[in-house]
């Protein structure tokens, strides 16, 4: 057995443990102090328990030791020996953080803060020594006087690394256990195989523990034994015993709710092989498997290929006689439909609910509102909205920043709110929704709103250029300028001035847009609009000479055919186009990319007005070809970065087309203008 390399299971252990911690954290935040719901407590306990078990198995003793303390505390809560207090929740939340840090450290990350671990460990121990609060009779109904457990391990139980003795010792810890061993199956010594278990046990466990606790002892061996757990009749129940026949199908639920428990307490619970609880326990993630993202990306690539091949066939089929080739054409149109459905389905595998980021905020809001002395409520809407995993990962930081900003700057403290005639508790609303091929995420607060005068004053102070007679929208845009921060005090929560410009840059890097709307005294709402996926781009194909380029559609403002006189030449050959009282720099793509074209003059071509980061340029192309969705391919994977090009794609005919990097193009002209 010793030659099994456990390290290959480490990844799964870490992933699962971190997930468990997330679940624990969420449950702790959900926990209503004083009226602890047994289901939630159980969930928290189970997470701690399985991390402890895993850590023990894989030899992460520090983690196992720490989570053991955690588990012990939780066990007291669960068994009703301890009433959970706000202080406990705080302690547990901090323990979650420490455990997470320890896991990361064990996973080869930064070393965990040993002091913090020791300190928190001491706190936990202290909390454990404190006299338990009065038993909450509601929270956990102690069921029976004890349990009669029949434990028949399968003969190969040792092969799985489980030791029945350990289980018996743990049972003993739960209460007074009277253990009887059945050695009937034991063969003569000469015939006994040393790795086979021939024994079975009957345990009478007397004590104040519920069935879940007993079952948890067997959590690791459920599949490797036959297990019967029957309640030992207590004195007063003895008489009524025969009145209720054992309810058929009353399968033991691993975590019966307190109410349910009292109402339909079955006299007899038979669970064979422990199969049933295992399935129910895992019902949360039933039917899901872990797949590496690279596998999914490979799949998406292959489907992309299929779509291209299919488009190619479709194109060829267009030239065929529809009468003679009826069957073939029918087949092709079926293929077309199936390919598209397949593509959608495969794309959907990369989609995650936005809850993956939203779920981190309740904790943050809780911690920060305590720190800032504000009363804040967080509401989330549309957390089930799905978007690409890549987008999720990269939107988390900007969103965190926005929420922090709302907490710190947007929302007033309770006193100010009461004075303004508002609910003393401020609200931050996170909202996600699909809106026509985009996903829209809003971070809204009902705080004081943006202050036009203060922003303008600040901009003047920081030397940020302000347009003449700015309308409100222009003013709000100023907070996205680098080096802008309106917080009166720089706090460690936010307001170091490296904020909103980074947020905007991140959102734009995802080819998204960010907008602000605000009303003084009523709140601010920041809206982020993102494409559904990073892998596909809505593009406009344009022709320059013989080459086709793709322009991201979200950057295209309009396109026009310039009239004579609309284009003026400035010094040094730089040209501008006058479009409705605005002079925009002219970017002739054929010159930038050194492509030979028959129509070098702007008047002979088409101007596509492109916007990025609030600046516009007029790109000159020969012709607009059409609009299409394109799959973005990396140019850098096998080649290098190309100036003015953000990537490549494959057209319907199999040819490669390059995708224009509008942000770089615009920046180049802005630099030229500044120089």
């Amino acid at each position: 057995m010793s030659n099994i390399d456990l390290s290959r299971f480490h990844r799964a252990f870490f992933d699962e443990s971190l997930e468990g911690l997330d679940a624990m954290e969420a449950a702790l935040l959900r926990l209503d102090v004083g009226q602890a719901d047994a289901e939630t407590i159980n969930l928290i306990f189970r997470s701690a328990h399985s991390i402890k078990g895993g850590a023990g198995t894989f030899g992460f003793t520090a983690v196992a030791g720490f989570t053991h303390l955690l588990e012990t505390l939780l066990e007291r809560v669960r068994s009703g020996q301890r009433q959970v207090s706000q202080a406990d929740v705080d302690l547990l939340l901090r323990s979650v953080d420490v455990t997470r840090a320890m896991l990361r450290a064990a996973d080869g990350g930064d070393a965990a803060d040993v002091d913090a671990v020791a300190r928190l460990g001491a706190e936990l121990e202290q909390a454990l020594e404190m006299k338990p609060a009065a038993v909450a009779p509601v929270a956990v109904a102690s069921a029976a006087a004890g349990w009669k457990i029949r434990f028949l391990p399968k003969s190969d139980i040792f092969a799985s690394g489980n030791d029945p003795l350990r289980i018996l010792r743990e049972l003993d810890r739960l209460g007074q256990a009277r253990i009887a061993c059945d050695s009937q199956a034991l063969p003569a010594l000469a015939d006994a195989a040393p790795e086979t278990c021939y024994l079975s046990w009957t345990v009478e466990l007397r004590g104040d523990c519920d069935e879940g606790a007993v079952r948890d002892v067997f959590a690791w061996v459920e599949d490797e034994c036959e297990l019967e757990i029957l309640p030992l009749p207590s004195a007063e129940e003895e008489g009524a015993k025969d009145a209720q026949p054992p309810a058929a199908g009353a399968v033991a639920h691993p975590n019966p709710s307190p109410e349910g428990r009292g109402a339909e307490k079955p006299k007899l619970k038979v669970v064979e092989g422990g199969k049933e609880p295992t399935q129910e326990r895992r019902s949360g993630d039933a039917g899901s498997i872990r797949v590496g993202t690279e596998k999914i990306d490979a799949l998406i690539n292959l489907v992309g290929e299929l779509v291209i091949t299919q488009a190619m066939l479709q194109q060829i089929a267009g030239n065929l006689d529809p009468v003679q080739n009826e069957k073939l054409l029918q087949g092709l149109s079926l293929l077309d439909r199936n390919t598209r459905m397949l593509q959608e389905a495969v794309m959907a595998t990369r989609m995650l609910p936005v809850d993956a980021v939203f779920s981190r905020f309740p904790r943050m809001v809780r911690d920060l509102s305590t720190k800032l002395g504000k009363q804040i409520r967080l509401e989330t809407v549309g957390e089930g909205t799905e978007l690409d995993k890549g987008v999720i990962e990269r939107i988390a930081d900007p969103l965190t920043h926005l929420v922090r900003n709302s907490l710190d700057h947007g929302l007033e403290n309770a006193g100010q709110r009461i004075a303004a005639g508002k609910d003393p508790t401020g609200t931050i609303t996170l909202r996600a929704a699909h809106q026509g091929g985009h996903i829209v995420i809003e971070v809204a607060d009902d705080g004081r709103g943006l202050d036009r005068e203060r922003i303008l004053a600040k901009a003047a102070e920081r030397g940020i250029p302000v347009p003449a007679n700015p309308v409100d929208a222009d003013v709000w845009q100023l907070i996205f300028a680098p080096g802008f921060s309106t917080a009166e005090q720089v706090t460690d929560v936010s307001g170091r001035g490296v904020g909103m410009d980074v947020v905007k840059k991140n959102v734009q890097a995802l080819s998204g847009q960010i907008e602000i709307s605000t009303r003084p005294g009523q709140g601010t709402c920041v809206t982020i609009r993102l494409p559904l996926t990073l892998a596909i781009l809505d593009g406009m194909s344009v022709r320059v000479g013989d080459d086709i380029f793709i322009v991201p559609l979200n950057c295209v403002v309009e396109s026009l055919q310039p009239q004579a006189g609309q284009v003026r030449t400035l010094s040094a050959g730089a040209r501008v186009v006058k479009v409705r009282n605005e002079y925009l720099p002219l970017a002739p793509l054929h010159e930038l990319f050194r492509i030979r074209t028959d129509a070098p003059e702007p008047e002979a071509g088409i101007l596509v007005l492109l916007e990025s980061e609030g600046r516009k340029v007029a790109a000159q192309v020969d012709e607009l070809v059409g609009q299409q969705q394109v799959v973005i391919k990396s140019l850098e994977a096998n080649y290098r970065r190309v100036g003015g090009i953000s990537g490549a794609t494959i057209l319907g005919d199999g040819r490669v087309a390059l995708i224009l990097d509008v942000a770089e193009l615009v920046r180049g002209y802005a630099r030229a203008a500044a120089a």
Partner: protein
């Protein structure tokens, strides 16, 4: 017996003792010369088809092609080595190479065959002028009447003057 050059040893982890197993080379022609590259670096050989030009690239980089969904740059070695004639017709071939975990297409005049050379048949490279820098030549393969210039294609393709990689990626 000469020890293999470090670069070959590095790039051929799977090869056994080089002294016993003859090395296999894919040979191709550029103008009058015959060249050889390590066969293990060759992914496939295909005809020259539509190449999408890349803006502002050196002239020997013909552009990029779609190789079953992957964007692959194409280098015309004839232009790189300043050969007089570089025609593109239906006989023009591309060698698709797998070097430094990248895929590169290389246009040559023609692909000849695959040859096995034992260590004795490989002579050290002499100093000589011409298109190709001597530092990319690992040796001269002599086989009967033929003379094969053996190129360390990996080093050549990742060299800075090929401009195939971002300078940060060049080692």
């Amino acid at each position: 017996m000469t020890a293999p050059t470090p670069s070959i040893a590095e790039t051929r982890p799977a090869a056994g003792p080089v002294d016993e197993n003859p090395n296999e080379f894919l040979t191709f022609t550029l103008g009058a010369e015959e060249y050889g590259v390590d066969i293990l670096k060759v992914q496939e050989i295909r005809g020259y088809d539509t190449v999408t030009k890349v803006p502002n690239a050196p002239s020997f980089i013909k552009g990029v092609i779609n190789l079953r969904g992957t964007i692959v740059p194409v280098v015309d070695l004839r232009l790189k080595f300043n050969l007089e004639r570089a025609e593109y017709n239906e006989f023009t071939v591309m060698i698709i190479l797998n070097v430094a975990r990248r895929i590169v297409g290389v246009v040559v005049d023609g692909v000849s065959d695959v040859m096995q050379l034992t260590a004795e048949q490989i002579r050290p490279a002499p100093e000589f002028g011409g298109g190709i820098n001597t530092k990319f030549i690992t040796g001269i393969g002599a086989l009967e009447q033929r003379m094969l210039i053996l190129i360390d294609i990996e080093r050549l393709m990742s060299s800075e003057d090929m401009a195939l990689m971002d300078s940060a990626a060049v080692h």
